[in-house]
Each structure stands twice: as C-alpha cells, then as structure tokens.
Symmetry: C2
Subunit: 243 residues, 2 copies
C-alpha cells in the first residue's frame, strides 16, 4: 500500500465506518442470509450513534442489495450469491495486502471475456468515426511507448474508445463495475505497461481486426491481450505480497 505524499490522510465518516463493519459481518457470513438484523434502535446503541446515522448506513447497504428493509418488520440479510449486483464486487474484494488472489483472478478473467465481447461488437459495427478514434489513440501510444505512464494513459484511452465503438452502453457500465473491484497498488496495476512496445503491438492487432470487421479475430486478439495483462498483474501482485 503506497503512502506517498500524494495520498490524502484517511478520514472516514461515521457512516462509512458502520457500513464497513456491517458489510464485513454479512460478507464473512457472521450474519447469514435470511437472518434478521437487530433493530435499528439496538444497532444504533451498539455502535454509539443516532438512528439517523445508522439509518444512512442501512440505506447504503440496502442499495447494493446486501439487506432488504421492510417497514414494521426489520432488515433481513439477502442471499448475495443469488441476488447481488455487480456493484457488490467492490465490497467483496479482499482487503489490501491480502494474499487471496482467487478473487483477483476471477475479476481479471471476467474483464478478459467482457473485453473480447466488446471487441467483437466493435468489429461488427465499425464506423469511420470510431475507427479514427482508435487509430489516433494508437498512433500516439506508438509514439510514446517508452513512457510507461503515458502508455498506461493511452491504453486507457484506446480501451475506452473501443467501448464506445461497440455501440452498446451496457458494456461500459459493466466494465466500470468490474474495474472498480480491483483496488490495487498502482505499481501492480501498471505492471503490463512497462513494456510499451508489446502493448502497442497488441493493440495494433486489435485495431486491425476491428478495422477489417473480423469479429472472431478482434475478439481473440482482445482476449489474448487482456489475458496476458492479467497474468502480468497477477505476477506483480504475488511479488508485491511476498515483500
């Protein structure tokens, strides 16, 4: 975990703290699905806060689908695996510095397949405008591929352009949720971008397949790229944890 001069000091609000605790109780299974939470009055007393503050925490937890609150009855823990939405992913991520890489692996795998789907659609729908966007980002990346920071930024530009090119906003939102789930060290996340030439070559392959309208090739190239990116991130994460 980086603690450079740029990182702001931690200042958690009361509500955030309560949300965190309750969320952990539920995710870790100490509060099982179907079970009722203690009453708001009880919980408020237990945490030493007002009902108003506690209520805000419950409202947030309900919004992501961890509990369901009913007037006159109480709050019941929901079955996360059954009904949880993608925004839950950020709550399920293991804490920083954890050695649990299973979750990270799943996230990266999902990212890989979703990326493939986006590329296939982009190849199907390719328009002059979107191809130009991709080409522009790519050319700039090829120029600046020796600067890892810029490589990372421009790769992001390229991937976002690909998302627009696929002509389906839904994938945009899905990608955001999945991406939000890996809260990684910057160095870990940046691992693939140290090799700018490789990134540029991969994206070039993708861009050409999309330009040719070759769905299968575009999908395969994108999956291969994200797959290898995932490998490198995972390797870096493991290396970081060993320190």
């Amino acid at each position: 975990m980086s603690t450079g001069p740029g990182s702001p000091i931690r200042r958690t609000s009361l509500v955030d703290e309560i949300v965190g605790r309750l969320q952990r109780e539920i995710v870790d299974g100490r509060l099982a699905p179907g079970q009722a939470l203690p009453s708001e009055r009880e919980l408020a007393e237990k945490y030493g806060v007002t009902r108003a503050s506690l209520k805000q925490a419950l409202v947030r937890i309900e919004e992501v689908g961890l509990i369901r609150t009913r007037h006159g009855v109480g709050s019941i823990v929901q079955d996360v695996q059954q009904d949880g939405g993608a925004d839950l992913l950020k709550y399920l991520a293991p804490p920083d510095g954890s050695r649990d890489f299973l979750f990270l692996r799943e996230i990266l795998e999902a990212r890989c397949f979703i990326g493939g789907a986006i590329a296939r659609l982009a190849a199907r729908r390719r328009t002059r405008k979107h191809l130009a966007e991709l080409e522009q980002a790519l050319q700039e990346l090829e120029r600046r591929r020796d600067d890892p920071k810029e490589t990372q930024r421009l790769e992001n530009v390229f991937v976002r352009a690909l998302g627009r090119a696929c002509g389906n906003k839904v994938f945009n939102f899905v990608t955001n949720s999945v991406s939000a789930a890996y809260k990684l060290d910057l160095a870990t996340y940046a691992a693939p971008f140290r090799d700018g030439a490789w990134v540029a070559a991969q994206l070039r392959t993708i861009q050409e397949a999309v330009g040719d309208g070759d769905e299968a090739a575009a999908g395969a190239a994108t999956e291969a790229y994200f797959d290898e990116c995932g490998r490198r991130v995972l390797a870096q994460a493991r290396a970081g944890a060993r320190r």
Copy 2:
C-alpha cells in the same frame, strides 16, 4: 403494465419518491455532470421533507454513483457514462410502457454475450458435479416442456447452474445487474418459454457442448440461444406496446 390481483398496491416511501425525482433529473440531463446540486437545506425545503429524509435519498443516489457528496462543499453530479457502475442500469431503464426499445436491445445483447462467455468457461472447467446439475435440470425441463410456467422456471434453474459451472462468481453478479435492468411485463419476459420444445432443444445443445469441453461450440450455442430469446422478447415487447 399488469395490475393483476397479485401486484401489490403502489406504496412508495418518501425517500423512494425523492430518489426517483432526482435520479430522473440527472439521467435526463437537466442536472449536468459537474454541476452542483442545491444545498441539502434547499432541496429539503423544495421537496417539503426533513434534511434527514432528503439525506437518505442523497446517500442512495451517491451509492450508485450518480453524485458525489463532499463535506463542506456539496453534492456534485458525476459523469454517468464515464464512471457509472452496472447497478445504474436499473435506473437508466426507460419507464414502463415506453416505446424506447433501444435500451432493451442493448441489455439483451449484453446478456447474450455474457451468457456466451459463461458457457465457454463452463466448458473449460466442466466438473462431474456441475454437469450432473445441468443434466438434471435439463431432463426435468424436457419432461415438463409443455408447461410454459415450468419451462421458464427450469430454464432459470439451468442457466443458474451454468453460472455456477463456469467457476467464476463475477459473472454471477454481472448477470444479476444486467437482468435487473429489464423490468418487463411478465408476458413479455415469458415469450420465449411458450415454445418449450425449442427451449429444451437449445439447452440440450448447450449442455452437450459443455459436456464435450468444446468451448467454442458451447459459446456459440449459448449466444445463439440468448440471441433468439432476445428477438422473441423484443417482438413481444413491440406487440405489447402497440396495444
């Protein structure tokens, strides 16, 4: 919109109402990204509620990522397209009875591709246990394929089993978010299940490909199935809107 005896009378809470109004203002663009909301005191007065109630609404809206609230500053509308998560989808869905089918088409398309990814992974990881689950659901569906209600239920069982078989929880959550986005008439949603024999045949193809460990075939069969399902749902939705 069905208003049968089963549908409970509408009883919206104050907070729900506020969330709905603010959410529409933002999604429809009357409150632009980067713009600040009026202060909580102002908004509370405007809606004729207490700050506590208004605050609950703001907390929920912030949780899904539509706004960002900062102490001493205020609430700023976020750029949904840029940063929004998948749980936003349920807020973006056009109101019931709308003739805007573009969004529905995108949702169904995403569902189709995600289903394909799940099937490919299921074929890659096939285990005896999961194959047995699929087979059981399928056999029961084949027995009861003349009952649309049962066909629908068992298709859901099969698809969920496929989700477990893919060995990646992330897709589970993504699927839930995407599915939550289409709030359709029951009749519309049930359209594909009127043809139980067709459904059974499709799922049988999928099951066999998964059992063979043939990733490409499993993915293709599943995409084809969801694609056709989407077509039928869309056709039904259009027919329903013309009434």
